[in-house]
Amino acid sequence: MENVVECINLTHYYGKKMVYENLNFNIKRGSILGLLGKNGAGKTTTINIINGFLTPKSGKCMILGEDSRYLSSKTKAQIGYLIEGHVQYAFMNIYQIEKFYSGFFPNWKREAYFDLMAKLKVTPKQKISTMSCGQRSQVALGLILAQDPELLVLDDFTLGLDPGYRRLFIDYLRDYAKETNKTIFTTSHIIQDMERLIDDCMIMDYNRVLAYMPVKKFLNDFREYTIELENPDIGVALEGPIVNLEKMHNKLEIYTYAAPEEIKGYLDAKGLGYTNFKEVDMSLEDAFIGLTGKY
């Protein structure tokens, strides 16, 4: 299957502050990759590089076969872009903005836009700046649907959305992408509901990638066990099969890719006395927090 996005050895610094080094990933046509990370992990930096707004210190991104630094107009027409916070030309109303964008895209599908706008309770002359965040998200989504691009690049689209609009946005997007074989690259620091949308996940922490795999595999393989330590003062190191730990009093949360027997064996080998060993079911959000930590 052809790669729509290929990022090769991406390295970027802001001054002396490293964002990441040698980041590699690709997105196959028709798949949805979610780049998940806390604020400041480098999500928007990656989006800016993909869109050609930022030149990486080294490495490159190939988008639909073109270097992202020199995207042609034809390729840009095939990339739908949603800015963090659903930023649009807020001084326009929904008719003005549609009229403006339609002038740039020969295959503009105005019905797709107005079908979505019909569901919004906005007055015809209402400026986008006076709309709620949820309504603005629908305007931004409607414009992308009308553009009908091959690749959708969505920067933290869940930001500011209430649960209803977030679910609506995700479900609408997922159906559209799967029906029309679109490719999506999305970032988010709000993980709730993301498993409904993405096929693959790349979880980033500061400077590094913690996980990059299909989301189903991640949810299947990444596990949380809880134990109660007999001696709450004892320290447990982040080593061996343990990927992350959260300790509160005598209760220890262990995050790992290892099976229960392997973890039990490891704890026994370390001579840690414990009781109440349990495996805990996790959502993607739980797994994300387990992997990246609460702080």
Binding site: N48, F53, I79, F100, G103, F104, F105
Partner: protein, 222 residues
């Protein structure tokens, strides 16, 4: 595509342009109401004497109006582009980034020039009703640098607003203030007559400065 750009830019500057046009027209009418008042109601002889012998300028109120026009149009046009980094939307449109920004600037320049031309046309036309050709010509030479300052202000403010970093913006503001100051040197009619073409040349040079701001933005200066 050009039609769409013009459509968006006009939405941004429509109100401020029409407001400035109205204010400018009222100012020119005010200038000649005052001239008429001086010539007909008050002492015409001393008024003439002031203009001919003491080289008095009867239209000082007009001095900074073109500057304000250029400044406000540039602000109205480009501040909405940098709020929430909306310029990314513009640069993402399927056309060459430099070309689209130049088209935006060209439209703003056209509107600024049109408004200033209306002021200048009214000012000289009404002047010709009250004064002989020689005085109208000198008043043109006096006001021309002020009008050119309006156009220069438009280009400079566009460039400064689009600059991604505040540190550079402040530096450019200081440079811009010093540069624009040169258009207002001299307190006598026609002082800057021989600087008109150099002014035009300098304006031509700064007219494409916005491309540098866009280049810096695309290099990742945010």
């Amino acid at each position: 595509m050009l039609k769409a750009i013009v459509y968006k830019e006009w939405i941004k500057i429509k109100r401020v342009s029409l407001f400035l046009l109205l204010i400018g027209v009222l100012i020119v009418i005010g200038i000649y109401s005052n001239v008429r008042h001086e010539l007909i109601i008050k002492d015409a002889e001393s008024y003439w004497n002031g203009i001919l012998q003491q080289r008095a300028i009867w239209f000082y109120v007009l001095k900074f109006v073109p500057l304000i026009v250029g400044l406000l149009i540039a602000v109205a046009q480009f501040v909405p582009e940098i709020v929430d980094k909306r310029i990314k939307l513009t640069l993402h449109l399927p056309t060459n980034e430099e070309t689209i920004v130049l088209k935006m600037v060209l439209f703003g320049f056209f509107c600024t020039t049109l408004i200033l031309s209306v002021f200048m046309g009214m000012f000289l036309g009404m002047g010709a009703y009250f004064f002989p050709q020689e005085i109208v010509w000198v008043s043109f030479l006096t006001t021309a640098p002020w009008f050119l300052a309006g156009i220069a202000a438009y280009f400079l403010i566009s460039f400064i607003v689009l600059e991604p970093l505040w540190k550079q913006r402040i530096f450019y503001m200081l440079f811009g203030a010093a540069f624009l100051g040169t258009f207002f040197k001299g307190n006598f009619p026609g002082t800057n007559e021989y600087l008109l073409w150099p002014f035009v040349g300098l304006i031509a040079c700064i007219s494409i400065a916005t491309l540098f701001s866009i280049y810096r933005f695309r290099k990742g200066e945010m």
